[in-house]
């Protein structure tokens, strides 16, 4: 290695560990002196480049990171909370919507749905011992009483008729049970005087204080039931 190359190599990297560097120094005092000089210079350079580092830099870095990740976590927490609140709100609105809003557009639709929902739940043997007094006790909530027996009662109960308090009567008919609803005056459902589907027909009897809906098997003569109701029902208000 010539002298120029030797110097170039050491200037580029005074710690050059190359064997050829060592070799070039052996028996060449000038090269060896240069090597020592440049390494002396390197010590000065090293010292100058190692500027002092601000106190507490390391702890500040860790502190800043801790604060940052805390902030990110609380941001995340806030975000989760916001999502949870939104979901809860949406569920609340949804529940409100489904329970309070009318799904049925008419008393006829609702009556049929209610009828089929409870179909088969009543047995002919039920209702033993339901007297006119029991019926009138139940029906007083609706401000209704019956002057006389209206038939053989299988069941009488308070019912929700699309969210409204109502009276639900099941009476033994000629072919099948006849269902009678006594409901308050409704605004959100339209009234159909007569209605039917493939199996069941019904009629709505409108009174000033409320409506009476009568449903039964298609073969059933609902007119006679309507007549019976008309004859016996009394509205207290």
């Amino acid at each position: 290695m010539d002298e120029l190359e030797f110097r170039r190599r050491l200037y580029a990297n005074p710690k050059d560990p190359g064997a050829d560097i060592r070799k070039s120094m052996a028996g060449h005092p000038a090269n060896e002196k240069f090597f020592n000089d440049i390494n002396q210079f390197e010590k000065r350079l090293d010292s100058a480049l190692h500027v002092s580092v601000p106190d507490n830099l390391a702890s500040n870095l860790i502190l800043r990171q801790t604060l940052d990740s805390h902030r990110q976590q609380s941001k995340k927490r806030r975000w989760h909370l916001a999502v949870a609140a939104s979901v809860a709100f949406a569920v609340g609105i949804g529940v409100q919507y489904f329970t309070a809003s009318p799904v049925y557009s008419s008393t006829a639709d609702y009556s049929l749905a209610h009828y089929y929902h409870e179909q088969g739940k009543f047995d002919d043997s039920d209702g033993e011992g339901i007297t006119l007094a029991t019926l009138n006790d139940k029906s007083s909530d609706m401000n209704v009483r019956f002057k006389d027996d209206i038939g053989s009662i299988i069941a009488v109960k308070d019912c929700y008729f699309d969210g409204m308090d109502s009276l639900h009567l099941v009476i033994r008919g000629q072919y099948d049970n006849v269902t009678i609803f006594v409901i308050p005056k409704v605004k959100h459902l339209s009234n159909t005087p007569q209605f039917a589907d493939s199996k069941v027909h019904g009629l709505t009897r409108q009174f000033k204080q409320g409506d009476v809906i009568i449903l039964g098997d298609k073969r059933e003569s609902l007119g006679q039931w309507q007549q019976k109701i008309d004859d016996t029902i009394e509205w207290s208000i």
């Binding site: 170039r8 200037y11 005074p14 210079f41 350079l45 010292s47 100058a48 990171q65 990740s69």
Partner: protein, 171 residues
């Protein structure tokens, strides 16, 4: 989570000083350098999972810092002229001969062209090889070695001429 925290703290403790010095020689301003290091470590924390090779940590951090510095320039392009005349602020009062010497040499280092200074800092402070520096700075190795040679050569010449001046005035 706890182990990530531990890794981060280990990284900070092991490398913050070298990273700060590198930043300082990049920008010649203690406060800007400190900000850069803060920003770099914060980014490093967020991306810590992507650091698989612990040995590569230092060059990884330096890469983040260089990118961060480039962003700083993009943000304040108008301020760029402020950095044309590097000024080395250091406490020289109540200093030993060694400190005076360091101070003198620091001013010379600051006056080196940035292209020469950066490989030098990476070599001396970072302990990186010519190949490593070349890949970090997107240069070929010969270019890096030439710049390292020129950097030392210029500094050595400055020292020698200073000695000459001193020698003349003393003699």
């Amino acid at each position: 989570m706890a182990s990530k925290q531990k890794r981060y703290e280990a990284l900070v403790n092991a490398l913050h000083a070298d990273l700060y010095r590198y930043a300082f020689w990049l920008v010649h301003d203690q406060h800007v350098a400190e900000d850069l290091v803060q920003e770099t470590f914060l980014r490093a924390w967020r991306a810590l999972d992507s650091l698989k090779d612990q040995k590569a940590a230092k060059s990884w951090l330096i890469t983040i810092l260089r990118r961060e510095n480039a962003r700083r320039f993009e943000r304040k392009q108008l301020d760029m002229s402020d950095y044309e005349e590097p000024s080395i602020v250091d406490n020289v009062s109540a200093s030993t001969e060694q400190q005076l010497e360091d101070h003198w040499l620091r001013e010379r280092i600051a006056r080196l062209p940035a292209d020469y200074r950066e490989p030098l800092v990476l070599q001396v402070i970072g302990g990186f090889s010519g190949e490593e520096i070349a890949s970090m700075l997107n240069l070929n190795k010969n270019t890096v070695m030439t710049r390292l040679f020129r950097a030392r050569n210029q500094l050595k010449e400055a020292i020698d001429s200073e000695k000459l001046v001193k020698g003349q005035s003393n003699g």
